[in-house]
C-alpha cells in the first residue's frame, strides 16, 4: 500500500526538455504541468466559507487501489450532499500520516474526521488527541453494535467510551494462481483450493506446487514478516501481554511460529527475499502457486490479468486465524468542536459504511454487516470467498508502540526477516525480538 502518488510522474525528468522544444515552450509547459499538479492536490476553491455549506475536512492514508475507491465514494457522497463541502486529503501511508494526525490534534486543530488503524488507537491517546464519539448520535444514523461484528466493535472502545467507527477489516489471506494450482491438481471442480490441515499437510502441498512452478510453492513478503508471525502465533493461542515494565510471551509457541517462517525459506518453498511488489509478481508470473498477503493486493493482481482466487489464511496450527486490523474513522481532537460539523462527520461516516460495497471491491471486508450479507457482496469474487476471515481476525495487543506502522512492527521486522534469510535460527530471532520488546517497554510512553 505504499503506492506512489500519481502526481509524482510530473517530476519524471526523462520528460524534461524534449528535443526541438524551445526554452519558452518548455517553461510554459512546465508551468502548465505545475498548475495541473496544484489543481489535483487542492481539493476545493480557495474559500467556500461564504456559500453557507458545512465544511467537512477528512484526512486519510489511502494512496493505493483503496484510495481510488474512496475517491469514487466521495464523488457519490458529494452528489447526494450538496450542503456539505467535503474536503478529503490523502497523506502518505504509515508514520508520515500518523505524525500529522497526532500533531494536528495536539494543537486542537485536527481534521473533522480521519481514518486510522484501530490498532493505533492507544498511540493516539484517546481522550486527549481523539475526541469521544457519541454512540446515540451515531445510532441515529443507523450505526451501532447490531450492524458491526462484536469483536471489532469492542476494539473501538477505550476506557468504556467509543472513539472509533470501523470501516472494514483487512486481513492476511491466501491467494492462489489458478493455472498453477490446476496443473498441480489442487483445485476442485469449482476452482476452489483443496483444504489442508496442519503444517505437514501444508508443506506437502507447497512441495507439489513447487514441482509445477520449478521455483517456489508460496510467495510471502519476507520484508514484512510480522503479520505472518502474528497469525501463526495466534493460531496456537499464543499471546503477548504487556504489563507496567514487564511482559509475558509464550516462548515455545513463538518458536514454533518462527520455525515455520524459517523452514519455508530454508526448504526453498518460499523465497528468501521478497519485498513489496516482488511478492505479487512472484504469484502473477507463476513462480509461486500460493501467496499469503493482505486482501488489499486484489487490485494489484487484477491489474496483472492473471487468473487468481483467494481463500482464508491457511490452517497451519488447527484453525484459520489470521492477523488483521481495521480501518476506522476517528474524530481528532478539536479545541472548539462545532456540533453541526460533528453531526455532519457522523452522518458522513454512516453514509460511507452503508455504501461500503464499493470499498469491498478493493479487497477489504466491510465492517457494516448488511453489506457483507448482501447479494452484491456475494457476487464479488474473490472477496466473498474469504468473508469468514473477518471473524478469524487477530488484533495486536494494545500498547503505544504496537499496531500498523508502529514501533514494534518496525523493530520486529529486523529479527523476523533473518528467519527467511537463514541468517538467524528461530532461537536467535526470538532473543532479538524479546530484547526489542524489553527496550520498548523500558522507555516512558510518549502518549
Amino acid at each position: 500500500m505504499r503506492a506512489h502518488h500519481p502526481q509524482n510522474t510530473t517530476r519524471d525528468p526523462s520528460r524534461g526538455t524534449a528535443p526541438g522544444m524551445g526554452r519558452r515552450a518548455f517553461l510554459g509547459t512546465a508551468a502548465g504541468l505545475g498548475a495541473a499538479a496544484l489543481g489535483t492536490t487542492a481539493c476545493a476553491p480557495p474559500d467556500t466559507l461564504l456559500d453557507g455549506r458545512t465544511r467537512l475536512r477528512q484526512w486519510n492514508l489511502f494512496s493505493g487501489g483503496d484510495g481510488l475507491r474512496m475517491i469514487e465514494m466521495h464523488d457519490a457522497y458529494r452528489a447526494e450532499h450538496p450542503g456539505i463541502d467535503l474536503r478529503a486529503t490523502t497523506f502518505d501511508w504509515g508514520a508520515p500520516f500518523y505524525t500529522k494526525v497526532a500533531m494536528g490534534a495536539a494543537g486542537g486543530r485536527g481534521a473533522d474526521i480521519a481514518t486510522v488503524h484501530v490498532s493505533r488507537l492507544e498511540s493516539l491517546a484517546p481522550g486527549r488527541l481523539l475526541d469521544p464519539i457519541d454512540p446515540d448520535l451515531l445510532a441515529g444514523f443507523g450505526i451501532d453494535d447490531t450492524v458491526v461484528l462484536p469483536h471489532i466493535w469492542e476494539q473501538c472502545f477505550f476506557d468504556g467510551r467509543l472513539y472509533a467507527i470501523p470501516i472494514d477489516t483487512h486481513v492476511l489471506i491466501q491467494f492462489y494462481n489458478l493455472d498453477v494450482c490446476r496443473r498441480a491438481g489442487l483445485l476442485d471442480e469449482e476452482d476452489r483450493l483443496v483444504e489442508t490441515t496442519g503444517l505437514d499437510d501444508y508443506l506437502a502441498m507447497l512441495r507439489e506446487i513447487r514441482n509445477v512452478t520449478g521455483a517456489y510453492g508460496l510467495s510471502v513478503d519476507t520484508w514484512n514478516p510480522w503479520a505472518n508471525f502474528w497469525a501463526l502465533y495466534r493460531q496456537q493461542d499464543g499471546d503477548i501481554v504487556f504489563g507496567e515494565d514487564d511482559y509475558e510471551m509464550d516462548d515455545d509457541r513463538a518458536l514454533a511460529a518462527m520455525e515455520v517462517l524459517y523452514r519455508l525459506s530454508e526448504e526453498g518453498l518460499a523465497p528468501r527475499h521478497s519485498m513489496l511488489a516482488d511478492t505479487a509478481a512472484n504469484l502473477s508470473n507463476g513462480r509461486a502457486g500460493l501467496m499469503i498477503h493482505g486482501n488489499w493486493e486484489i487490485p494489484t493482481l487484477e491489474a496483472t490479468g492473471v487468473g487468481f482466487s483467494a481463500t482464508q489464511f491457511p490452517n497451519v496450527f488447527g484453525n484459520h486465524r489470521t492477523r488483521g486490523d481495521s480501518h476506522c474513522y476517528v474524530f481528532p481532537h478539536q479545541r472548539d468542536r462545532d456540533p453541526e460539523r460533528t453531526r455532519a462527520a457522523a452522518e458522513y461516516a454512516a453514509w460511507m459504511l452503508r455504501n461500503s460495497i464499493t470499498w469491498a471491491e478493493g479487497g477489504h471486508v466491510p465492517a457494516y454487516q448488511p453489506v457483507v450479507e448482501s447479494a452484491e457482496y456475494d457476487a464479488l469474487h474473490p472477496q466473498s470467498e474469504y468473508r469468514e476471515a473477518a471473524e478469524n481476525v487477530q488484533f495486536e495487543p494494545r500498547a503505544w508502540f504496537s499496531g500498523s506502522a508502529g514501533r514494534l512492527q518496525d523493530e520486529a521486522t529486523g529479527a523476523l526477516t533473518t528467519l527467511h534469510q537463514g541468517t538467524q535460527t528461530p532461537e536467535e530471532a526470538l532473543d532479538q525480538l524479546k530484547r526489542t520488546i524489553r527496550s520498548l517497554l523500558s522507555v516512558p510512553s510518549p502518549v
Partner: protein
C-alpha cells in the same frame, strides 16, 4: 543527498584579483555598515527564524520528555542524552552512516576524477560523455531507487539474470546484510557522481592551455602532464569536492530508506533514519533531538578536521 549549489573555488589565487579602484571605496562613505545591514536583513530574518531559533529550541527539547503527540512536558535533565549515548541501536546506526561515508567518499571523488579526465581527453564524443555521466544526477531519488531496486532484485533482476546466463550465482545485493551497504553505495555513486564530475571538468577546462604546451615542448609525456600539471592544479577542487561529498554522505537517508528501509535486520539503518524512527514513528521528540545534536556535533568535528587537513596541505 540534497542539491548543492556551491561553485568551485576560483582558479586564480586571491592575490591575483586586481584591487578595487580607489574611488569606488570612497563613494561608500558615510555609515556603510547600516546600509549593508538593510540589504541582508530579509535573509537574516529568515535565517534566525528558520535555522537559529529552531536550533536553540531543539536544544531545549533535549532536556524534556516532549512528545510529538503533545501532552504535558516535564524537565528530565540529561536523561535523553544518557539514553542516546548508551543506546546500542544508535551506535549501530552511527556506524552504518560512517561506513557508508567511508565507502562512498573515496569512490565518488576518484570516480569523478577519472570520468572527468576521460572526458577532458576525449576528442570526438565529449558531449556524449558529459551527457551520460551527468544525466543520472537529475533523476529524482524515487526514480533512481525504483530502477536500481529492480536491477538488484535477486530473482527477477537484471544483474543476477545476466550472471545466471553465464552460470554464475549472483549475490543477494540489497537483501543480504553482507552486501546491502555496498549495493546502496554503488547505486548512489551512479546517481550522484555527476555533480563531482562536473566540478572537476570545469576546473580542468580552466587550466590554461599554454601550461600544457610549455610542458609538451619540454618533453613531458601525456601521463606526466596529468600527474605533474592537472592533478596539482586540481588540489583546491579536490578539497572542495571531498568536503561537500563528506557532508553529503554523512547526511545519507532517502535512497537507503527507499531501497532497504534500513534492512536487512537494520544493517543499513542510518543515523538519520534512527532519529526519524525515534522522533516521528516513536513520537519521542526530546530523545530524537538529543540524537540529532550528537550527530550534528560529529559532522562539525569531521568537517573541521578535514578542512584543517586540506588547508595545511596547501600551505606546505
Amino acid at each position: 543527498m540534497t542539491q548543492r549549489t556551491h561553485v568551485p573555488a576560483p582558479r586564480t589565487p586571491p592575490e591575483a584579483v586586481p584591487p578595487a579602484p580607489r574611488d569606488l571605496v570612497d563613494v561608500r562613505g558615510g555609515p556603510p555598515a547600516w546600509t549593508g545591514l538593510w540589504f541582508v536583513l530579509p535573509f537574516l530574518a529568515f535565517y534566525v527564524l528558520f535555522l537559529l531559533w529552531p536550533a536553540v529550541v531543539g536544544l531545549g527539547y533535549t532536556f524534556t520528555d516532549r512528545s510529538l503527540a503533545g501532552g504535558p512536558v516535564s524537565f528530565v535533565g540529561v536523561d535523553n542524552w544518557r539514553e542516546s549515548l548508551t543506546d546500542p541501536a544508535l551506535h549501530a546506526s552511527l556506524w552504518n552512516t560512517l561506513w557508508f561515508t567511508l565507502l562512498s567518499v573515496p569512490l565518488m571523488v576518484l570516480l569523478a576524477l577519472g570520468l572527468a579526465l576521460l572526458t577532458d581527453h576525449a576528442r570526438r564524443l565529449g558531449w556524449f560523455l558529459r551527457f551520460s555521466f551527468f544525466a543520472p544526477f537529475v533523476l529524482p531519488v524515487t526514480v533512481m531507487t525504483l530502477i536500481w531496486g529492480w536491477m538488484y532484485n535477486p530473482s527477477l533482476g537484471l544483474f543476477n539474470g545476466t550472471l545466471g546466463r553465464f552460470g554464475i550465482e549472483g549475490p543477494e545485493w540489497l537483501f543480504s546484510e553482507d552486501t546491502a551497504m555496498f549495493s546502496v553505495v554503488i547505486a548512489t555513486a551512479w546517481w550522484q557522481v555527476g555533480f563531482n564530475y562536473l566540478l572537476y571538468l570545469a576546473a580542468m577546462r580552466s587550466i590554461p592551455g599554454d601550461v600544457y604546451e610549455a610542458a609538451a615542448i619540454d618533453g613531458a609525456g601525456a601521463w606526466q602532464r596529468v600527474g605533474r600539471i592537472t592533478l596539482p592544479m586540481l588540489t583546491r577542487t579536490t578539497a572542495l569536492i571531498t568536503v561537500l561529498q563528506l557532508i553529503g554522505s554523512l547526511r545519507v537517508f532517502e535512497q537507503i530508506y527507499l531501497m532497504t528501509m534500513g534492512g536487512p535486520n537494520f544493517s543499513t539503518r542510518t543515523v538519520i533514519q534512527y532519529v526519524y524512527d525515534s522522533g516521528f514513528v516513536g513520537l519521542r521528540i526530546g530523545l530524537a533531538s538529543s540524537m540529532a545534536y550528537i550527530f550534528m556535533a560529529l559532522i562539525i568535528v569531521a568537517s573541521i578536521a578535514q578542512f584543517r587537513l586540506f588547508t595545511r596541505k596547501e600551505e606546505a
